[in-house]
Amino acid sequence: MLEGCKWDPQVGDAATLADFPLLMPESTWHGLAQAAEAMTGELMAIEQAALATRASLQELGLPDRLVDALYSDEPPTPAAVRVMRFDFHPTTAGWRVSEVNSDVPGGFTEASFFTRLMAEASREGMPAGDPLRAWADGFARGVIPGGQVALLSAPGYLEDRQVTVFLARELHRRGWQTHLAHPAQLHWRDGVAHLETNWHRGPMDAIVRFFQAEWLAAQPDARNWRRMFHGGLTPVTNPGIAAVGESKRLPLLWRRFGISTYTWLCHLPETRHPNEVPWEQDDSWVLKPAMCNTGEMVLIRPATSGADWARAVRAVKLQPDRWIAQRRFHPEPVNTPDGPRQACIGVYVVDGRCAGAYARLSERAVIDFAATDVALLLTQE
């Protein structure tokens, strides 16, 4: 909690750190890691295809200002390092992916620091990797040593700020000068980001963006943030174009691009436009908004109160182009000392290479803010 910046170990009445590890055979992990790396390659190709036309971006259900930022003749702003996390679930039909966190994936301290501590304490297995180290190593390849780095997060969201502070400490330990800031404190001159605050003014050598792209698009002055998408010279992690992969509507566009999505098709449940399927009558469909960063926005009718479902029906009918319907999968519960739980294994991929896992357990059908973080440890066969 103190050294690893885990600042939300208790949410309401729920403790969010499991005092036991989740064990997985190495062979299982290798299968997930290979799938995640393959899906990364497919996603990057789809991302480029989607960026090529404004019409494609509009179909992703993104805010108009975000589409404006994503569609540009200027070259994409370079990535300092590119990280994404694929959320796998054990189901009765095998492993399924619920989403890729392509824009601003978190969970670094749980997947790195906490998992290492649990491995040392339990001696039951080895961590699947160290996403923090992989991320920082990638950062070091893309950013000049000892430079100035701005880390952006939204004020008031402690769960976001704990991530930026944790990353800032690692970068500071490696010699960079770090600044926690807000996008409005960035000013771009000739493509270079400058920080203007009352504790530091000057050009930045890199930006760590832990500020969701759709929230950027809601900022009043686009001049502060558009260069994080296109036309910027200052490397950004993740660059703004990562928002494309974050849209849950991306699978609706796949077929037209002629790009292989074989691995995705093997793991992602059938995904359709809400108007194409009888989701109101058929409980085998779940609803997700296009930009769905947390599990609590996933709507499963049997698991949703009557009032919340009525609100969801109104929202989907009002803006069906901002939602998807997706086949519901049936989780294979994991037996734990606390009883059976749904598991979610978030597999990190950093610059195309698998880098570790962020595992969570939930009593409920959805993995949300109240899920328990658990250290995933690999065991020999």
Binding site: M1, L2, M24, P90, S122, Y157, Q219, P289, R311, I345
Partner: protein, 270 residues
């Protein structure tokens, strides 16, 4: 004292309400250059005189500015309450060191940090029962800042969420039937805190407000649900995707075969 010892003093292992103590500020201690804590204002003793003696059916919420909550919490600890720090704002880490310059951050948390560190031995010495009733400590400046807003400042404002507190069910399960809100002025509770208090009240917990202003006795506090117009307005914002959650951050909008290998491990699908 080490950082861990300071945190342990305020959130001792095994104490009933320690799990809710927020580690945020304590996490910033190793790199913090602490100022002297502000002088004791005289209020804590008075608060102790005007607040009921520690009782197992009573919890306190102290929504006081800056370090005053820490001092008052310590005074109440000497009267048998367990102070539970719920401070969510971070200082500005510049080059690994929190800045002390006034106005650099919107919420000045260094006096709170200093008070928590310097008073840790005293609170540890109170030898409170593990079941001691809680006194949750909040910074009244958390939402609006302790300095005039500046676009150049580090925005470390924060919000107290319902999930920062135990639920009404948990309070009731431990016999707590009354909650006293202690704040500086005789005004309505802050909007973020009101959400939590309203939920507690709806579950049957009696609320009282005790302002620290002179000659203002404690009074029952009745919180009404938000108006239908406000609720409708919020729902519309949710419908069009403009809001993640009520009272959220300031800039979201703008602003496997399964077996158990050991008693405490779980095995995933293979």
């Amino acid at each position: 004292m080490t950082t861990e010892a300071i945190f342990e003093a305020w959130a001792p292992t095994g104490a009933r309400w320690s799990a809710w103590a927020k580690p945020v500020l304590f996490s910033c201690l190793p790199t913090a250059t602490l100022p002297e804590p502000p002088a004791l204002l005289g209020r804590p003793e008075r608060a102790l005189l005007e607040v009921p003696a520690a009782a197992d059916d009573l919890a306190l919420v102290l929504d006081l500015p800056g370090a005053e909550g820490v001092f008052t919490g310590l005074a109440l600890a000497q009267g048998g309450y367990r102070p539970v720090p719920l401070y969510n704002a971070v200082p500005l880490p510049t080059d690994g060191l929190p800045s002390e310059r006034e106005g650099v951050t919107l919420v000045d948390v260094m006096p709170i940090l200093a008070a928590l560190a310097r008073l840790a031995p005293t609170v540890a010495g109170c030898s409170l029962r593990a079941e001691a009733p809680p006194a949750f400590l909040l910074d009244a400046h958390r939402r609006h800042g302790s300095h005039p807003a500046s676009p150049l400042a580090f925005d470390n404002r924060s919000v107290a969420f319902t999930t920062d507190f135990p639920s009404a069910d948990r309070l009731l399960a431990h016999g707590i039937r009354r909650v006293w809100l202690i704040q500086a002025e005789n005004t309505a509770p802050q909007a973020d805190l009101a959400n939590t208090l309203r939920a507690w009240q709806a579950a049957g917990i009696a609320l009282w407000l005790k302002p620290l202003a002179p000659n203002t006795p404690a009074r029952p506090l009745m919180l009404r649900p938000p108006s239908w117009l406000r609720a409708l307005g919020h729902e519309l914002l949710v419908l069009v995707g403009l809001r993640r959650q009520p009272l959220g951050g300031f800039n979201g909008v703008l602003s496997a075969p399964v077996t158990t290998s050991t008693p405490r491990s779980a095995q995933s699908a293979g």
